[in-house]
Symmetry: C2
């Protein structure tokens, strides 16, 4: 039967990784002592400890995460499910998550949804199969009922705005309404009155921005009121806007739902020979890396993406600790709001601010201004 085992051993990647037994033999101690030593637990003399660690070092020993988690019943893994790679938003949120994870003994596993709800689901399943103890979903595209089902197995924190509150799912979101208000107030302060809102989505975050825009417009310029284009026929709306501007009619400023739409609009305006910002001012939302690349530079609303990420991780850790019956590892920090038990949500707790395009070419109506 030893020979039968042999074959299994031989089938594994060359030079089979050293185990706790190998280290034990090398250091002349029992496997239990090695286990204590590598985990830095008490109950060993300094002499043996260092002897063991030396041997481990020399053999290139690394503890097998799977074996450990098998016996401990936990993995120390948190899944990060990104709606998309390749966006500065997701990068920054992820960085925030990583920074917070580095403070704890938490390992992250990143999954990638490729902007596709179906793929997002599959990736979520995949993360669960890996044994993550919680999942941070940086996307609002997962269907609520699916989220709810998964949340019964494992804590879920969503960074973004879900269409509805989901039992057992915590959320972190930026203050969309406040951001939109900032944007509109900024344009108003520049003297604009006819301000258009261009939106590409009817999802929750977009609707919050749109609603706030409308409220401000109704309150501040009742004689003009809100004018929203999109999300449907967005292309045609842009074309119409451009022809208006070329005739010297229509809006003098546009607040777009996000930077991508702003960039697209700016491109089309420039193609049509419209002078930006003289003939049209544009303000975006997200403060993406596009802002400083575009000419004229784009004024946009900045979300505290790093903070949102860190927040999400801490919430996940707290949930795990709660599930495990222990108390939260940190003394509850400022943001904790230890109010209602699950389900709870923490939204709008992350501030937002306007980042006017610094430097040479701010988007403005015919005159320059400094920083907002």
């Amino acid at each position: 039967m030893n020979t039968s085992r042999r074959t299994a051993v031989d089938r594994r990647p060359s030079g089979r990784a050293p185990t706790i037994h190998d280290v034990a033999r090398a250091a002349g101690v029992s496997k239990s002592s090695v286990s204590l030593a590598v985990r830095g637990q008490a109950g060993l003399s300094e002499a043996t400890r260092s002897r063991i660690l030396d041997a481990a070092q020399q053999l290139g020993y690394r503890s097998n995460v799977w074996a450990r988690s098998l016996v401990q019943g936990r993995t120390g893994l948190i899944g990060v499910l990104l709606g998309d790679l390749g966006s500065s938003y997701h990068r920054d949120v992820t960085n925030g998550i990583e920074d917070a994870a580095a403070e704890q003994d938490i390992r992250l596993v990143i999954g990638h949804g490729r902007r596709d709800p179906e793929r997002l689901r599959r990736e979520l399943d995949s993360l669960l199969a890996l044994g993550v103890e919680a999942v941070i979903v940086v996307s609002s595209w997962l269907p609520p009922q699916h989220l709810e089902a998964v949340a019964q197995r494992v804590p879920i924190v969503v960074v973004g705005r879900l269409p509805q509150e989901v039992p057992g799912v915590d959320t972190v979101a930026n203050q969309d309404a406040a951001g939109a208000r900032l944007a509109v107030e900024h344009l108003l302060s520049l003297g604009h009155r006819r301000i258009l809102h261009l939106t590409g989505s009817s999802r929750t975050a977009a609707m919050h921005r749109r609603r706030a825009y409308s409220e401000v417009m109704r309150a501040r310029v009742p004689e003009v009121g809100p004018q929203v284009e999109g999300p449907e026929h967005l292309d045609r709306a842009q074309a119409h806007l451009i022809s208006q501007v070329l005739r010297g009619e229509g809006p003098t400023a546009v607040f777009t739902q996000n930077d991508r739409i702003a960039a697209e609009l700016m491109g089309r305006c420039l193609d049509a020979g419209i002078r930006l910002p003289d003939q049209l001012s544009v303000v975006g939302y997200d403060s993406s890396s596009l802002c400083s690349v575009l000419r004229p530079r784009l004024t946009s609303i900045d979300q505290p993406r790093l903070t949102m990420g860190s927040l999400a991780l801490r919430m996940a850790v707290e949930r795990i600790a709660g599930k495990l019956g222990a108390r939260a590892p940190d003394p509850a920090p400022r943001w904790t709001r230890p109010r209602a038990a699950p389900p709870w949500r923490l939204a709008d707790d992350a501030g937002v601010h306007l980042r006017a395009s610094g430097g040479g070419g701010p988007v403005s109506p015919s005159h320059r201004w400094g920083r907002a």
Copy 2:
């Protein structure tokens, strides 16, 4: 002693997941039979199989990946270490990897280096600790000696250009030289003679591009020859270039090492009142998402990023299969080059092409052209 176990059980996330034993008991068979059934292996009657699967379904049983990989000695995991999230390059390469992985029974684990070699190393370690069977590194920033050390434990495929050939490490790279030649030939065909090369790096890929640029310039316009600025004092070089152009002197075209630098240059030119592309033509490298956003649109060199990703995954799988002593799963495809045994590398096998800015505003010297 049973009670002592109890506490361990109770400490684990609520409602302890059902195991193979639970299913066995429910179906009235042995755990071995359950194992066979859930893995769809032969050796069971249809009757018992379906009875077992029903029971498993009812209990919501999911096989424990850690336990499985512990006994099988393999995880089915491949690590993807990204030099950075948030770039369209990394996204596309990752998509290519994922597409190829979907065809196999491979699960991907993504790590994130944040453009920092030190962090890259830590993430690599973290992936190894997770038990990945191979790592695809989408970055050229890891020090060769470190790569070499790790490659002894697990196959490594690098997407990018390492400073030197590393034993045991496979690489996938685009044809930097061919790409650079395309770019320069393109500008020459538009009538440019004084073409500057602006580079931001002295790393390998950049050097390949730079060298190819110089060769073409020497061969095609010997009376002008190559002129390279950067990587040091890039900022000053740009300022100088702009002042030259404003005086109607200096280069009429610039080939930049990448799109980021091209975008920066274009921004500064526009800030200075230079008309693009009338006064200066710019060609970038990468065909990033910037190209279609900028005005005028940016002509750039396109790398087959998806293909490169798929290639990398197939190479990794092949390596794993080789290490495991089995033959490659697929009949060797076109690109395999089954030449030298390890170490081998496969570079420059992924084609490259110029993507001229379509539509309205191509970067050109005073006249328009169609697609290249």
